[in-house]
Amino acid sequence: MSWILGALVFWGAAWALNAWLANSPYRGRRGTKIAVPLIFGLAVLVVWEGLVRGFGVSGVILPPPSVIWARIVLSVDILWVDFVQTFVKGALAGYLIGCAAALAVAVVIDRSPFLQQGLLPVGNFVAALPIVGIAPIMVMWFGFDWQSKAAVVVVMVFFPVLVNTVAGLAATDAMQRDLMKTYSASYVQTLVKLRLPAAMPFVFNGLKISTTLALIGAIVAEFFGSPIRGMGFRISTSVGQLALDMVWAEIAVAAVAGTAFYGVVAAVEKVVTFWHPSQRS
């Protein structure tokens, strides 16, 4: 009972503190903007812990955060092997190949209006399809190891990046292109100095969407067969053994990896597109 009460009191106190912070004169400060969601997250964890302990929920249904943390600390080596297999080899390799290919194809089809008009609707259409479905086919083609996972990721990230880049390359206005012409800039010069930089906000939009897709693709592909390591493999086997603390530990790693991946791309975006209004305020 005391666990439940404590959790509820903590929740109320945290919410009151957040409400005060959000309406206080400090609300514009950077520290406050980070502190408020952190307090909220902490409150969720405390409520989780309190309710699970208070109601005596079995660890087979939902383990409390403290147990999950203990599991993470105990099995760092397993988690690391899985992380390398799924994230570094599967998701990251596929992401880099897929994005590079999409950027290259976008620059090429940008030269031909005919290809643009033809490929854009097709690309937009394909981007809306459930591409994860190709995972079993890729596993059949490339085998169980990380190559098949990377192949799924390549296809999944290709279309969002392609569509966004093509849109971005069209983002310069006639005045700017005319200016380059008066400088008698060549095609390559115009591309490198004007159009690619101008396309960057769009490109990064695609790159950011793709970070989540990459992880999803890599993990889903592991459901169709994988060597005895990898996050998706570990999760499905641990669920079978009812080792839910291990499952949650993998989920925590996946969450941190996904968030960090997104954060890194967003940080690079900030550096590259420092001139864009959305980055300046």
Partner: protein, 289 residues
């Protein structure tokens, strides 16, 4: 016609490349068989054989189309092999998840627009929630709902597709509900409109275009969620389950037809949402003339 031609050419090019690739990829098997029989097939024989294998690495388009036609139009809907049947199972979970996700997204957006505390504490976590690969959680959601005593897979599939589809709705609705500018909000204040009146008469109608734009993304996402929800624990019904079965039994045609059925379903859903959008915008007087 001018806009259709490039699309047709590109599509035709894709089909041609597909045929070429399937000849190339399937020929390994053909040559292998011929070598074992001690024959040297001519190029024409190789091509003919690659067009009609039982377990091709890459089935040519007409083979997929024929199989698709057989499994949808010619099979009885009640048959366990009928794709209409499996598609219906997946569609149910998709629509449920889509509805739950949309309602959740809208509710959260309303809260966020009206409460600064909620905006500051929930919004960052909503973003983080999308960087968590939900598929990682899918097997656990299924076990959890079984442990709580929910039979069947509809509920876990619904949860997964709701999780994937709420976010686009949330982001667009926050944008949409905030889209009325200060002048319009001031006007309503001069009418001494209450918060609720401002919401129903200004904010909600103004958010409609944003709402429908996000619906298209959300419906595609919730189909992905439903398919992924069928993968991890050996479901036997639904398009995702067909893919898994095809993979486990080494039957490429099952995988390919399930993949295309899913693609057709996705295209149909997006098209439907587009129709609804045009209708709703016209009814509220915001549509293009």
């Amino acid at each position: 016609m001018r806009r259709v031609l490039p699309v047709l050419v590109v599509t035709a090019a894709i089909v041609v490349i597909w045929y070429a690739a399937s000849v190339w990829m399937n020929s390994t098997w053909t040559l292998d068989q011929a070598e074992r029989a001690g024959e040297t097939p001519t190029f024409g024989q190789i091509v003919a054989d690659t067009m009609a294998q039982d377990r091709p690495l890459l089935p040519p388009p007409h083979q997929v189309a024929a199989e698709l036609w057989e499994l949808t139009a010619e099979k009885k809907i009640t048959s366990k092999r009928s794709l209409v049947y499996h598609g219906w199972i997946t569609l149910q979970a998709t629509m449920l998840g889509f509805a739950v996700g949309a309602i959740m997204g809208i509710a959260l957006a309303i809260g966020i627009v009206h409460s600064r505390t909620m905006d500051m504490s929930v919004m960052p976590w909503a973003i983080i929630s999308q960087t968590v690969p939900i598929v990682a959680i899918a097997p656990m959601i299924i076990v959890l709902s079984n442990a709580v005593g929910i039979d069947g897979r509809t509920v876990p599939k619904t949860i997964i597709s709701a999780y994937l589809s709420y976010f686009p709705v949330l982001v667009s609705m926050v944008k949409g509900l905030r889209s009325p500018d200060a002048m319009q909000l001031d006007l309503l204040r001069t009418y001494s409109a209450s918060n609720a009146q401002t919401f129903w008469k200004l904010r909600l109608p103004a958010s409609l275009p944003y709402f429908f734009a996000s619906m298209k993304v959300a419906v595609a996402a919730s189909l992905v969620g439903a398919i992924v929800g069928e993968l991890p624990t050996g479901a036997i019904q639904g398009l995702g389950a067909r893919m898994l079965i095809g993979s486990q039994f080494g039957e490429p045609m099952i995988m390919w037809t399930a993949l295309f059925a899913a693609a057709i379903l996705a295209a149909g859903l997006v098209f439907l949402v587009g129709l609804l959008e045009r209708l709703a915008l016209r009814l509220t007087g915001q549509g293009a003339p």
